[in-house]
Assembly symmetry: D2
Homo-oligomer: 214 residues x 4
């Protein structure tokens, strides 16, 4: 059995992407499953293509996409992807779609099929702050999450679970950004490993209190 983990290349003027740095440092086996990591481009369209090609190649039992959420304080499994591309900045090939569907004719949203609450709890049990997020934004992170979940729901394979986790900046990135939180690469890697173990160990999610009032 294989867990496929994707991470984006740097974007938005950054020289590194903490998601990619942390994912590259993951162990090759977690909770008895093989971990395969793939770098994907921060480019609308191509990000989904790279992820679905990796799904076809590796035939994983679960897919976890990982991306940077600069400004967040903790590691955040995402609950839902919405069917919209609405870019604040241009992607790495200069595209900046405004209010376009990720997939024309697809549903308005997909909920993650990974056990997001169990993942957040496992990360916290590892001594690392974590919470469930209800928005992956409207850029390439939401885009790949939507695209992967749509692919799994339509093309399949249908029993494969998928989802997304956002991670904060690492300290190196915040040296020139006063007042921005960070977690170290080692901390993020440890948190992602705990989340992956929770994916393996929880076929279904737990029904705990992780919601938000807004």
């Amino acid at each position: 059995m294989t867990i496929l983990v994707t991470a984006f290349d740097p974007f938005g003027g950054e020289s590194l992407n903490p998601a990619l740095e942390a994912v590259k440092a993951l162990p090759s086996d977690i909770a008895g499953e093989k971990v395969v990591t793939v770098e994907v481009p921060t480019v609308f369209g191509k990000a989904i293509e790279a992820a679905t090609a990796a799904i076809d190649e590796h035939q994983p039992s679960a897919v976890l996409c990982v991306g940077q959420a600069g400004g967040r304080f903790d590691i955040t499994p995402e609950r839902v992807a919405i069917n919209i591309d609405d870019a604040r900045i241009a992607d790495n090939e200069g595209h900046q779609p405004i209010d376009k569907p990720v997939v024309e004719g697809a549903p308005p949203a997909y909920f993650a099929t990974l056990p997001i609450k169990a993942m957040a709890q496992a990360i916290r049990d590892a001594g690392i702050p974590s919470s469930v997020s209800n928005s992956a934004g409207t850029f390439v992170c939401n885009h790949i999450m939507f695209g992967v979940l749509h692919h799994l729901a339509t093309v399949g394979p249908h029993n494969v679970r998928g989802g997304f986790v956002h991670v904060p900046f690492i300290p190196e990135q915040t040296v020139a950004k006063p007042g921005q939180p960070s977690l170290s690469t080692e901390t993020i890697t440890k948190g992602l490993a705990a989340a992956i173990a929770a994916i393996v160990e929880n076929e279904r999610d737990v029904a705990t209190v992780e919601g938000t009032t807004h």
Copy 2:
């Protein structure tokens, strides 16, 4: 023509709800439209019933629901409502649903049909900070937004636009909450009036940059 504006009663231990205070102070006419305001209970199910009853009674051309988002810095039109109730706290009748659909069998999400970007711009043009939000949370605010949009999409009337705006705490509420932002009731009322004028003046939304990377 009538704009229907709903606001919740206080919840979560607060003695007032800034949304309700601000909505009660709205003028009765904005941009040539009649403004009708209705207080709705912070209770799963009953909130939607109160809103849809008011729609039936007042036959508005647009519905704007307003709620408190303690901790936010600005007034935030919401982009999307998701089909899930996942309460962090109990509602005002003690119900705390965990991972239940708002409406069984309904779509996973509805996008607001109000011109959210034009509203955010109009609020800013009035000198008040505003941005489009991509999550209304998983409590009664998201619940009423989803319920109203589902009602308009299924029962109708179908040409009526709907959506939600979250507003920050007011200063009175933050006296005992160091480090929490606020806007005064007067400022929020002025911002909501600008947003309502934008609803009247923009049949369709503008295609401006209001997205977020996460």
Copy 3:
């Protein structure tokens, strides 16, 4: 009896200074005392000269200097001024002193002689967030506070109390600054009036818990 209130002109690229806007709107009498307001330049040296000239002219019973602290959430009476000018940005005449004493040979610091804890409590009693701050920074705000307290301690008149209050941005300023808190001009004026009443009513400060762990 007269309370002298100073406020700075705009600086740092801002088109207005919330301290000045709020101070200009103060009533001319508070708690039976006459309130005299004076605009002072955001310029090292000249700010102190303008304040001490106003002291000589108006012979007040207390001096309250007011300045902008962009990024703060509440109205903050300052506890202490330190004998250093260390400018992050140039003042309004292009001067940017680095690690220079405000007054050569003067003590390392002066504590405010206004009742800062009673002022913070009075502001909160008016429904407005407030706390005692332990640093007025190292720019012109700290500079004028130090200069005024040094003047009152050396030249006199010796029974005149002095101090400084920092106020947040107003909403107009934060429209282009996402994630920055603000209070409206009306709210700040109301808070300053409450603080001035507390100055009149409290010859000595109260011994309440207003300290910070760091």
Copy 4:
């Protein structure tokens, strides 16, 4: 030559103190100097006694006290200690002084004699966020900094430099504190080592822009 580094035991309900954890992991030699670390109690009076006893015993060339500043985003060398104890919470022996001098009859403040700007720059050069802080609060951190600087200025030895650095929470502490920033113990240790090297390498501080407007 020896650098003496002190760190407090846990306080305020915490089960650990990140300053202590990080200091214990420091190497025994930095930039050719011997590093001696001492744990001090979070108790008014006893903290200073423990620090000055360690100065007498180890005859260091510099003294660096380290403490926790929960809520800060970066590692912050402190510019100044003020002559006041004003406790928000009780210390570890239940004392909570309100508006008492640290040392009766001593000056109102002492500026750090360590090269605080060079230290902040060295920490940033190590890829870790850092800035100069202008307030060490009014609790035991400010207290020990004032007490040590007063001891060095009066009792001596007079050529010994002294100061204080505040460090953020570590991730373990923020698991139950949503929205609080942290840095890992490893990151903090690395930052402190860089700061100590800067102490060794900079007899005098650099004249760079590190001030704040407030």
